[in-house]
Amino acid sequence: MFDNVNGVELTVFAVLFAAVSALGFVAARWRKAETLEHLDEWGLGGRNFGSWITWFLIGGDLYTAYTFVAVPALVFGAGAIGFFAVPYTIVVYPILFLVLIRLWSVSHVHGFVTPADFVRARHGSSTLALLVAITGIVATMPYIALQLVGIEAVLKAMGVTGHVPIIVAFAILAAYTYNSGLRAPALIAFVKDALIYVVIIIAIIVIPYKLGGWDVIFGAAEKKFAESPNPADGVLLPGPAQLQYATLALGSALALFLYPHSITGVLASRDRNVIKRNMAALPAYSFVLGLLALLGYMAIAAGIKPITNNAGKVDSNTIVPLLFDNMFPSWFAGIAFAAIGIGALVPAAIMSIAAANLWTRNIYKEYLNKDATPAQEAKSSKIASLVVKVGALLAILALDPQFSIDLQLIGGVIILQTLPAVAIALFTGWFHRWALVAGWAAGMLVGFLTLYQIQQKVFGPDGTVTIAKQHFGGSAFPLSKLGFDTTTTIYAGVLALLANLVVCVVGTWILRAVKVPDGEDTTRTSEYFADRDDPRVHDVPEVVH
């Protein structure tokens, strides 16, 4: 398990890891509440986070360890297309600026904890709420599992093998999340981001200097892609990939805030201004992500060879850790590895809390224990957060990690199918509840069918093309499969969303025409504008039975 381990790296890593774990436990006493036995406290940190905490919390939530490892790996392997992460995180904030403040207001009037709570009240449909809740849980689980892939990549680069270290790391994470709730990742996010910023700023200055400048770095990348027979790679986007690039950026942006864990971060903020201010300040992370993506090219120029796993498959996720290992003294590499490792803990904690809240509010309380007290709700969420994490751990250890990567790809497409019921519904109550259910089903169907048909091809140096994966080989769907005479590809999620929207609109017309009764909308227009000093807004909901 510890053969060929770099002792200095591992020591620095372990010390930092232990320090933030201690912080996670202490967090229960930070901004102390009267009780943690309430979902608004355990699951939303008291709904009272100001601008700074929210910035660190949402930033720590969205820019995950997996992002830090996988985006440069994609740039390393395919070039320009991997840079989609930058336009994606540019467009997400202007799009959400007006959406999230409305969600905040109506949620704070009604005491909603999850997006499915809102769906239930807006459309008067518990079926739709259940679908949204299940979609959220299913989409989030593989995302948690992928955080483990991030930690694993770092451990591999340090020479640590075997499953025990991952199990220990996740057990610690599970324990302090159980103990402190959302306060733990909020506090740890400060450390995580400080480490990430320091590491990236130093890396982006030192590595190009050592390699001989950006000219050399991009030169090496151009040479690699010129020699590669794959028509889809390159330092610039090949023509047919441009639509894929734009739709992938847009689709990912729309999906991002439908994930329950990002909504958790938003609902935990204090007022509307905190959200607006954050939409302006969060792109600071986009800049870091852009610089990180360029590490992929630096790895090419530095001649990094990704580690091959026991099954003989190349694990390109190891290139960033290997680059740090190669370029920096052991103590600094140790800090960089800790930054990535801790970067996995924050989102994993928030995601498990969000999935647990969905379980508690929309399944447990709705179907299993209608009269649950706030303390019972908190207890149910705490236990569910443990179950979710064990599930993620098993998914990585017992199954091929590739399975989680495929699932996460599907997860982005399926979470997008809740857009009409959650995001568009914040602006209009026009859609019929059963049309939304039908649209959701249509989107799911199209999403699966398109992803299923996408193959992953491997281009041999002698010009041969082999199919590495028959199905779920990526998210770029060739429009030629729809009968268009073109090599252009499009992001499968956007295609599925279009089908969804068409069915929602047409379905609403038909259902109104045949006079199928609408659901009762228990929200009022003015509630979508309520701010902190509106008497209807309360931090902790007073539920009157």
Binding site: F97, R272, R277, V544
Partner: protein, 81 residues
């Protein structure tokens, strides 16, 4: 679950009325700018001019982050509660 309602709609506090006006402000249209700047790849999918030896494709998109930040900041300041 019953929710507390104000006694009558007229008691909606001024802050809520202000928020409603702000949410309908024309300044919000500015938010389209960063979308146009980044979601049309033919605008920037080129190598030259380079900046510090970095191809246009990359430095343009990094610079576009500033467009996103400044438009969002302007809209925030113009529509702040």
């Amino acid at each position: 679950m019953a929710i507390r309602e104000p006694a009558d709609p007229a008691s909606t506090p001024p802050s809520t009325a202000r928020a409603e006006r702000n949410d309908r402000s024309r300044w919000n249209w500015l938010l389209i700018l960063p979308l146009l700047a980044t979601l049309i790849p033919p605008l920037y999918n080129r190598e030259n001019p380079r900046l510090f030896d970095i191809p246009f494709f990359y430095w343009y998109q990094l610079a576009a982050i500033a467009i996103g930040v400044s438009t969002t900041l302007i809209v925030y300041r113009k529509t702040r509660a």
